[in-house]
Symmetry: C2
Subunit: 415 residues, 2 copies
């Protein structure tokens, strides 16, 4: 590999106002999606672009945390950095002056997400391949060297991770057929919290007509009857075979969650998402037992691999919604995916990146790790801001071909 050094780091606070209730949920109103962007420059034309997702003005704090963290990479060669990325990312995460602001959570961890993703972008661009291709080309040993497995080893040691990767080498060829067929998306944009019933109805019908077979509805209304009415309407529109999912965005107490999950069960949800506080492993464990066989999805606010481990150990999650723009980037996403594979749990990412990076990662999870469920959230509101927006046709994600992680943003979209 030719040498490619990181010569400058830049951080940007990019905002994307949403309109007419798009992006709203039971807890977060006035939605303005925001990306904390890391730009790793080189002496040549290549640059690595990474993002983390937040909402609104707080994003500026993540931008500043990137400026405190990323300079540690200055002067380093990208191949050398990625050859020992587990150690590099651990060292960034454990900067003593930033670690007390977490550890491994909140603003500093979101900044790390953006920086890590930029490293993967620069790496993939320097090799001239899309991220999924880069990852699938790595030996099991090279994949494991990307990961920080500290505080996980009683469940997932380096040996465990290697064994999982090697075990799934033989079936790869067969699973690679997904590279021709694509894989299904599900549509979150039909059922935002502030949408009127008529709007949900129209959007759901349009989504079904355009090929989606799975739709998400926001719940968590102060008036439980509103949730039930909208859920009944959505089930009636999509018919009995489509999947519908309900997302409470942490709105409920444990007691409320037990009550509402039982009430919503009549509409046969594929999952119920974020029923209560995302730190509360024990509440989710109790809820999972109380509402079985209804399944719980969560992850967009689980801060790190250690917390994900606890959720999995407790049987408190059924669909692991890891998000590489909320965890510490692509590498912690892969770590959580390995943990999930070991626990026999599907990973269906939350798409803080609007699916741009995750469209690559679900391919790796399916082909290299043998994750059977391959299914990805679709949120279209920011697609005009990307140079290479994810393409979805007839409800199916197409396979990205441009080098990198698909996060290049158009300049004119600057807030």
């Amino acid at each position: 590999m030719k040498s490619l050094a990181i010569t400058r780091v830049e951080a940007e606070d990019r905002r994307f106002p949403l309109h007419d209730g798009a992006g709203s949920d039971a807890v977060h109103s006035g939605a303005e999606y925001a990306f904390a962007v890391t730009r790793l420059r080189t002496d040549g034309p290549l640059e690595g672009i990474g993002i983390a997702l937040t909402l609104g003005r707080g994003n500026e704090l993540v931008r500043q945390a990137i400026e405190q963290s990323a300079p540690a990479l200055l002067g380093r060669d990208i191949e050398e950095v990625m050859g020992e990325f587990g150690a590099v990312s651990r060292s960034l995460a454990d900067d003593p002056a930033l670690r007390w602001l977490g550890p491994h959570k909140g603003v500093v961890h979101l900044a790390l997400a953006s920086v890590v993703n930029a490293c993967f972008d620069l790496w993939a661009k320097s090799r001239g391949v899309p991220l999924w291709h880069l990852l699938l080309d790595l030996d099991p040993e090279e994949v494991v060297a990307l990961l920080d497995l500290s505080y996980l080893r009683e469940e997932l040691s380096e040996g465990d991770a290697l064994a999982l990767l090697r075990e799934h080498l033989p079936g790869r060829r067969q699973r690679e057929c997904v590279l021709r067929s694509g894989y299904p998306g599900y549509d979150t944009s039909v059922g935002w919290f502030q949408y009127e019933d008529g709007e949900v109805r129209d959007r759901a019908r349009a989504a079904i007509e355009s090929g989606f077979r799975a739709l998400k509805l926001k719940v968590g209304s102060d008036d439980a009857n509103r949730d039930l009415r909208r859920a009944a309407m959505l089930r009636e529109i999509v018919g009995p075979t489509c999947h519908i999912m309900f997302d409470a965005n942490q709105q409920w107490s444990l007691r409320e969650a037990e009550r509402m999950c039982c009430a919503l069960s009549q509409f046969d949800p594929y999952w119920i998402e974020e029923p209560t506080h995302p730190d509360d492993v024990e509440a989710h464990r109790r809820l999972a037992r109380a509402i079985a066989p209804i399944q719980i999805a969560l992850g967009e606010h689980v801060p790190n691999r250690v917390s994900f481990k606890n959720f999995m150990q407790a049987g408190a999650v059924h669909f692991v919604q890891a998000d590489c723009t909320r965890l510490a980037g692509v590498s912690e996403f892969l770590t959580v995916s390995l943990l999930a594979r070991k626990c026999g749990l599907p990973v269906v990412p939350h798409v803080g990146d609007m699916g741009q990076i995750h469209q690559h990662l679900v391919l790796f999870n399916h082909i290299a790790l043998g994750h059977e469920v391959i299914f990805l959230e679709h949120i279209p509101h920011l697609r005009d801001h990307f140079v290479h927006p994810a393409q979805i046709r007839d409800g199916v994600y197409e396979i990205p071909q441009a080098p990198g992680i698909s996060c290049d943003l158009l300049e004119e979209s600057t807030a």
Copy 2:
């Protein structure tokens, strides 16, 4: 009460370099204590000063988060704010543009700590009493109105909290004798990680001579023999009746923690502190069972009341080291103290404030909640920077008398 409105908010990033290894531990070196300071101005001479503790340059991020959060209090009367403080603090914590940076953890939660503490300071100063006096003067209903009990109610409802407070009204008079006697401190400054053996020895002897009967030693060395040698030395110096505590500052994996806690048990520790990652409830639960009857202390990096609840539910903590400069201030500290009381666990605060606020809070916990253990960490390095530094004599904390929460900082201590 006369009206006292908040007319201006200011935030400061104050740094306090430490020297010669003071403040060092197995994970955090190059110690520079930092306070993110909130200053709530009024039209009169009174101002509320609150602090949160971090380490080094990252503190600037908390300062900026205060500037994003605190203006919501502008124009409001302090009595009115404190009369419904549970709702006020929840509203601050759930600002949609900041909540995605947590929720309830990291930089934004530390900023909330500082803001909340400033509110309590202004409130106590406006009434002309020290914080402990203010809190003890409140009716049980007024105490409960200070608290945000969301996501706790299956363990601690408003009714539960009221019952706990009322149940302990009768014995108050007897417990108030602590207001004359003071209560014991323990000395953390004898055994910082980077101190040479000779320095630990000299400091431990001096601490015993000055009246301390409990000392803490930092462990978590790469060479386990160093930990064991220092522990043996400390036990020999203090004799069999003094308490010694070992603090690993999260350095160990679960397996290492099991091994080291067993090896250190020969020195009869009063507790072992932060053995592994502070998010890992399940690892602490397993460890507690593996090393019983050795007791586990933790809390300085437990981000919020929900996570503390999980630790208590799991039996994964024995000494609750809540810290009102790391949690969302005095009110979340009180919430965690009520939870701990309900679980029969002692609260021995971590003193991110160098004991300034906590010297008040342990009095409330003892007198109003009936917490039996009354014991407080002592870290002397910043005492010259406070207007009213905590006074400890013969190893005993004296009772603070100045109005407020004792966080006024001398101007000349600005970095």
